[in-house]
């Protein structure tokens, strides 16, 4: 029993590690075979990142990107959850605003960049605003849908115990909808992380997005471009893994499907 579990556990790590190694190997030899002078090899990327890390620039860029995402995302949470709950709770209200939401929602946050700069000028606020926009719609929409999907039986049970509508919303509807809401929050965090990179390329002069565009513009340092890209991927993965830990809390785990 134990030994087969051990093998199983090892395999869970073994194949992903092999796949990653294969990817790096392919990359390395593709650089050699094509004879490119611009695109860096994995080793060059590693050296470039190490150099940046030693100078302390990398640390600041990472912190700046994370800070912008955190503020924009928190803002989207603070506004998106109450509004989403409200509109989910009053379907008539939702019908009124839904057309506007459905038109605004498919607009990529990147398309908002000029408007963001017009509103906030070049700087932190514009980038944060873009993250907010990117995260707000998925959060609000998932709240509306989750609340609408709460089984009638829970609402009836809640009202049977004499709860007034505000109490019913807080004590029954919100916790009943929470597992589904969390799925929306997780998607929104992913989008926030996508958007901050785009925002930083144009609106500010720090952060991982700026690092990419700056490395390209000042001396075609493609080792740093690729390094920053990889870092963005790794940090995005870490954010997602951390968020998924929320889903193991018992008060929500009942409602989360076990897909990978």
């Amino acid at each position: 029993m134990n030994s087969s579990n051990g093998i199983h556990k090892m395999e869970r790590w073994l194949w992903p590690i092999l796949a990653t190694a294969l990817f790096l190997l392919l990359w390395r030899y593709a650089v050699t075979w094509t004879g490119t002078k611009v695109f860096p090899s994995p080793r060059e990327v590693e050296l470039g990142l190490a150099q940046l890390f030693d100078s302390g620039v990398l640390y600041h860029d990472i912190v700046d990107s994370l800070r912008r995402v955190a503020i924009g995302y928190l803002g989207a949470l603070c506004l998106g959850i109450p509004l989403g709950l409200l509109f989910g709770w009053y379907p008539a209200l939702n019908q009124i605003v839904n057309p506007v939401v459905q038109i605004l929602r498919p607009i990529s946050p990147i398309a908002w960049i000029p408007v963001a700069i017009l509103f906030f000028g070049v700087g932190d606020h514009a980038a944060i605003f873009l993250v907010f926009l990117g995260a707000f719609f998925p959060i609000a929409v998932s709240c509306v849908d989750s609340v609408a999907n709460v089984p009638l039986i829970y609402r009836r049970a809640g009202s049977n115990f004499g709860l007034t509508p505000p109490h019913l919303l807080v004590r029954v509807v919100f916790p009943a909808a929470l597992p589904q809401i969390l799925v929306g929050l997780r998607i929104a965090l992913g989008i926030g992380w996508l958007v901050v990179v785009a925002g930083e390329m144009i609106a500010v002069d720090s952060g991982l997005g700026f690092l990419i565009i700056d490395s390209r513009n000042s001396g075609k340092r493609y080792d740093l471009v690729v390094g920053a890209m990889l870092l963005i991927g790794v940090i995005g993965l870490i954010l997602d893994v951390l968020f998924r830990r929320l889903e193991t809390i018992k008060a929500v785990r009942w409602g989360i499907r076990n897909e990978s």
């Binding site: 829970y154 916790p175 785990r253 409602g255």
Partner: protein
């Protein structure tokens, strides 16, 4: 009390001194579906005594659950009136708790949290005491901190019954509460429900499509016919508790109801 005396007191009107707890007068319900009106209930006249155990029995789709939902205040009848303690029912009320199949347990709360759900107006000490009392009554000691998804169907059903009992209602509406349980657990739960009913003396309205269940549990069985749902017959069950479910009287009553529904007692 001997069997005959008990029979005499239950055949006529409701048991327990005849004080009427719940009365429906000429209740009708019409649903609107795709522009067509669908009569679901018609001419429901029923009196239920204080502390009485009444089963609503009928085939699926006969409107028995609809009637129960209307009595609990979740639905408003299209015509007629439902009164509890001579007061017209206008909505759900903590004095009358509806027990769904186990699906009504809140999955985001522990066993304790569920049972204490209706007790937020009590002080912490009182609440803990009340919750513990009912956890014990339904035999869930040791599972106080468990979440519903960690429990079996029968245990979840106990949680729901305990949650209802904890707010000390006068009336409990049970909608096929044991329908989703396996037959052994179902039998055990029936025994437990009777034990609780004997100690707490609530008025119970119990919806089922199981003839045996109805005859085993109730003082009177309200047999309903389908589309639209009407009361076909009210059968008093004059067998004293604990009921011998192989006694001639039991079989006689059960077969009588089987015949009433139009089923021969042979497969």
């Amino acid at each position: 009390m001997s069997a005959t005396e008990k029979a005499a007191s239950t055949t006529e009107a409701p048991a327990s001194g005849g004080r009427v707890k719940l009365r429906t007068t000429n209740v009708g319900m019409i649903f609107q579906r795709d522009g067509k009106s669908l009569p679901v209930l018609e001419n429901i006249d029923l009196e239920v005594g204080d502390g009485e155990f009444v089963c609503l029995l009928g085939p699926s789709g006969c409107g028995k659950s609809t009637l129960l939902s209307a009595m609990a205040g979740f639905l408003t009848p299209t015509s007629g009136k439902i009164r509890i303690d001579d007061e017209i029912v206008r909505g759900p009320d903590p004095r009358r708790i509806f027990v769904f199949q186990e699906r009504g347990v809140f999955p985001w709360l522990t066993v304790e949290g569920n049972i204490g759900f209706g007790l937020s107006n009590l002080s912490r000490g009182e609440r803990v005491q009340r919750v513990n009392h009912y956890i014990k009554m339904v035999g869930l000691e040791g599972f106080e901190r468990s979440y519903p998804h960690e429990l079996s169907g029968g245990m979840k059903q106990r949680v729901e019954v305990a949650r209802a009992l904890a707010v000390n209602p006068d009336v409990m509406f049970l909608d096929e509460p044991f329908g989703a349980l396996d037959s052994i657990t179902r039998l055990i739960m029936r025994g437990e429900l009777l034990r609780i009913w004997h100690t707490e003396r609530k008025t119970i309205l119990f919806v089922t499509h199981d003839i045996d269940e109805a005859v085993q549990l109730s003082d009177r069985v309200v047999v309903m016919s389908a589309r639209p749902g009407r009361i076909q017959q009210i059968v008093p069950i004059d067998i004293p508790h604990p009921r011998d479910i192989s006694s001639p009287r039991y079989l006689e009553l059960r077969d009588g109801i089987l015949g009433q529904i139009g089923l021969a007692h042979r497969l």
